[in-house]
Amino acid sequence: MAVVAIVVFMLLRLTTGDPAAIIAGDNATSQDVAAIREKLGLDRPLAEQFVIWLGRLARGDFGESFFFKKPVSELIAERVEPTLALATSTIVLTVLLAVPLGVLAAWRRGTWLDRLVMGFSVLGFSVPVFVIGYLLIYLFAIELAWLPVQGYQRVRDGLGGFLVRLILPSITLAVVFVALIARITRASVLEVLNADYVRTARAKGLAELPVMLRHVLRNAAVPIVTVIGVGIAVLIGGVVVTESVYSIPGLGRLTVDAVLARDYPTVQAVILLFSVVYVLINLLVDLSYTLFDPRIRY
């Protein structure tokens, strides 16, 4: 985590663009620029800036956005809801789709069903998120006109509109994720299917469904959950793109806007936040192993 903090900090302080000059605008004199630089603390040595920055972080203060002219923490708070909604619905959708697909493919190994799922999985990896997004918009929003094209509606402005506007972005984002997880589910279920206890379960006359659920899936769960955790990185990357495609005012859009405006404090905060979330989720994933496999203890 310390490395992440240093990397993120250095990343954005080494830029060639001078934020003070950008804020001051075109008509500013060099004195104006110097004054702004001093106010923002940009004139101090790098190491000192880093320590000041860390100290503020510890107090939950991400500094003030150069570009939006308000505290970054406030900015992030405004943008969290859409991103959280999008990410949650995507994860739910993915798990509901990918795990059954992967199990089916493994169960009917070598048949057309298996080939279909695996074919989809390779394809899902290869088609970029924004291409999927625009294809879906074209098909469902423009040609068929079933769903709204773009935009976002907050939950408190009506649950219906909120959900309807989440459908396409979530599907878009879920494609890569489903591809990833279906693949791993298939692989790990295949491994378990050959185990002796599965043969025993079948031999004692259990129907296929209970065998799959209780014996196979449970034992195949650890790698699947691991990949869901690792896949969060893919998801975060996808969020940035999907939000741009669907004009959703979330954290991903904020990242792109902030980079284009060379708004260091915002970019730092967002990248740091995403990385912390990623690391935390993977910690939770590690801890969840004990649920699936009682042999693992910490």
Binding site: M1, A2, V3, V4, I6, V7, V8, L11, L12, L14, T15, T16, G17, V122, L123, F125, S126, V127, P128, V129, F130, V131, Y134, L135, I137, Y138, I142, V149, A187, V227, V230, A233, V234, I236, G237, V240, V241, S244, T255, V256, V259, L260, R262, V267, V270, I271, F274, S275, Y278, V279
Partner: protein, 286 residues
Amino acid sequence: MRRLGNRSTVVGGVLFAIVVAVGLLAPLLATTDPAQIDPTGRNKRPGAERTVRGDDGRLHVVKVWMGTDTLGRDVYSRVVYGARISLVVGVTVAIVSAVLGLVIGLLAGYLRWLDGVVMRVMDGLMAIPSILLAIGLVSLSRAGLRSVILAIVIPEVPRVVRLVRSLVLSLREEPYVEAAVALGARTPALLARHVLPNTLAPLVVQATFVCASAILLEAILSFLGVGIPPETPTWGNIMAEGRALFRIFPHNILFPGVFLAVTVLGVNMLGDGLRDMLDPRVRRRL
């Protein structure tokens, strides 16, 4: 012929070869200069015809296969030239990350005192989602081909390092490595002659996947407007250009999108096939 490999390798290889051919032959395939602006021929639909004044001064009718964009540039010619950028980025990133990852991974895997430090740095880099890291890095310098390549290499290297290191860790326990040590081989020679050759097959496979993800990342950066400058015809740029008028003229996004998807698909299939052929043991792919 049997060694030619499985279906995945062949199909992937052929797809990739087609894209390489398109990139190499771009000047021959393109109907117009990809940067040529035509104010009278803006936003043409695919298949429409327009008149262009040729080099000889006479007018001829040209069919615009994929339509034109808001500046009247021929989308087909731009897509064809876009193949070059994607391939250059993909292949360069793959080679550079493979070489860097190989060197760092070999050293970290074999010299124990280096391992801790190197792997902490790699873990730190891997904790930042690669698109975000690339976006952050691109903003460091003026956007251009070189800075985009660098910005994609840095998030990719740790994945290669991890692979090479884990291979080296298991290789160093092999009897033939111990035998070489017992015979008094020096570390550099040992690494070069006994350890390195055994890491190559998985490394090639990994490099293929890096290439695919680099092509995707470059397109995403361009699409978001933080990558290669917008006047350069890259697939991501053509799509970014087409965003505003997507509802009426979807061809600006669909054609480069299809090319991009087919290219990445080809490279991924090639990687899958190579992996099954070269090294059935390396099953993990993240």
